[in-house]
Symmetry: C2
Subunit: 329 residues, 2 copies
DNA sequence: TTGAAAGCGGTACCAA
DNA sequence: TTGGTACCGCTTTCAA
């Protein structure tokens, strides 16, 4: 069995209070006593039990991050940035993926009970759950989710890049544009769609249809393109909510010999690795930095370094490749 | 402040023992009493404190997974498979990325103190650390790391696919082969390299050089290809330790107008999404399933359902695309 | 400089 | 069917 602080105390011939002091490098311990304690710790291979410590200290030295899902490069990069900073700050990281489960709120509450603070992504849990956690005094950071009250938030810029994307395809000659994505799926998608709608509405002769795919993967984009082809109802441009969808669309069009970008233009969002190889025009967002920033904001709240709310918006960048036409001068 | 079990007991006019019984749906509680307790719980918004509970139960209902690093699609998929199963089993998930830090052993030990069991990937921590954890009685599963004693392990098949890869490029006409990867970086890479060496050694007139890149990313593969080009010392085939390296090599070769696969063949490993768009021949390994399997094995150990060691080897699959020549009949 | 002891928030055994 | 209480392993205050 694992040795406890009492075992150490007994072996060293001191009280557990003294052992605790030595453990924390407290001043007022005579050198000789300290040495005896250290020897006992060494001998027993003692490591303080985290539960006992956390219970007494009333802190976990851990924080969590809640995802809607973990598939795809986007989330992977976000965790990466998050974990790196959290580890640097000496905090353990818990992850939870809700998958739209009904039990999500309860899973999040359970996780909250293991952490000193939480990062919540997009539409993982209803607002009232977030509000309840916040009310309980738990430090929170919303990631890729619009600010709620004075809870910290981090998001990537959406509207501006979406607008530039719209101008790009319209400039490339597109009249009938389809937005491939479900605005209800996430605040990010909603913002992109809204911005697109706005720009399209201002342009002459341009129509925009919003077509929600079944999911967010390549297969879903491919299915959508396949049925458009079958119905002989190809749009001039497919502006997709993420790169996977766009890659699916692109693959099907190319397989069927459709001229891209001559006849149809395609764009994605995220700039995942495959986008570069597929020549996909897209919007790069600083995924790793999103996670890292969230981790930092959260830490400031947990440590109490900062009390005023912060709402960070990280810049995104249009990456033009061969799946869209450049307007010629 | 958060209500405790004692608050509930007071409000319901019962003892904390009774509250605990109600909490666990114990039989021997009169219906009326149970209702009063439930009412109190509701009124106080009581949720049992995880620390108190874990301390008393001497279990965490959580388990961890240790990565060398979290970048790239491989690890992302592994966590995904792991988290999904763990969540299904009602356990929280802690992740830790060691990044080759010197403090890794201590970070892992800290994590071990928060979990009922741990999955350890590849070469994240030295064998003696693993041995110590195992000796302490902590359930462990080694992932992509050769079996150590009777600790459970999960890995993907390496040698067979590596051999088929070697035969493929040799069949395609390659004589001078370069393995791009550092065998010391991970057991997986080591196995692949060893198998390749064996096959190459058996073929007539075939030489194999092992060239360790600086890292594991596209940039590292690109750098390697660039210097080979500059030295006018292109091999006939670059068999790379992972897809990112291969994609880097491939990009540089294509940019410089080198005929692939005519003059040079290139292969990767993992079959990440970008590989398909780049036409990269590679080996697909069931990344998600690796994580899922590890989670299941670990759970069996934690719950004590199984006590005999298991060593799973999941099958891999050669995926031939256009970066290698097919031997013509 | 050191120790005794009261928590931290639960679980579960033993009596009543 | 219920309550009292001894832990679980540590931190920290108060006295000595």
């Amino acid at each position: 069995m694992q040795a406890t602080i009492r075992d150490v105390a007994r072996v060293a011939g001191v009280s557990i209070a003294t052992v605790s002091r030595v453990l924390h490098g407290h001043e007022n311990v005579r050198a000789g006593t300290r040495d005896r304690v250290h020897a006992a710790i060494e001998e027993l291979q003692f490591r303080p039990n985290r539960l006992g410590r956390s219970l007494a200290e009333r802190r976990h030295a851990a924080n969590g991050i809640v995802f809607p899902d973990l598939s795809g490069p986007y989330y992977a990069e976000v965790v990466l940035g998050y974990e790196a900073v959290a580890a640097e700050l000496g905090r353990s990281v818990l992850i939870l993926s809700t998958h739209g489960r009904k039990a999500a709120p309860s899973m999040v509450e359970d996780m909250a009970g293991r952490c000193d603070g939480l990062v919540v992504l997009g539409r993982t849990v209803p607002d009232d759950v977030v509000a309840r956690l916040a009310a309980r005094g738990l430090p929170l950071v919303l990631l890729a989710r619009p600010a709620v009250g004075d809870i910290d938030s981090v998001q990537a810029e959406n509207a501006g890049s979406a607008a530039r994307l719209a101008e790009l395809v319209v400039g490339g000659g597109a009249r009938r544009i389809v937005f491939v994505g479900d605005p209800d799926s996430s605040p990010d998608v909603q913002e992109r769609c809204a911005s697109l709608t706005r720009v399209a509405g201002q342009a002459r002769d341009v129509t925009l249809d919003v077509v929600p795919p079944d999911g967010f993967g390549e297969a879903d984009g491919a299915a959508l393109a396949t049925s458009a082809l079958a119905a002989d109802a190809l749009a001039d441009a497919y502006v997709c909510a993420n790169d996977e969808l766009a890659l699916g669309v692109l693959s099907v069009l190319r397989e069927h010999g459709v001229d891209v970008p001559g006849r149809v233009q395609v764009t994605g969002w995220d700039d995942v690795m495959a986008a570069r190889y597929a020549g996909l025009t897209t919007v790069r967002q600083p995924m790793r930095e999103l996670g890292a920033t969230a981790a930092r904001l959260l830490d400031e709240r947990i440590s109490g370094t900062r009390t005023d709310p912060r709402h960070e918006v990280l810049p995104t960048q249009l990456v033009v490749r061969t799946s869209t036409s450049r307007k010629e001068a």
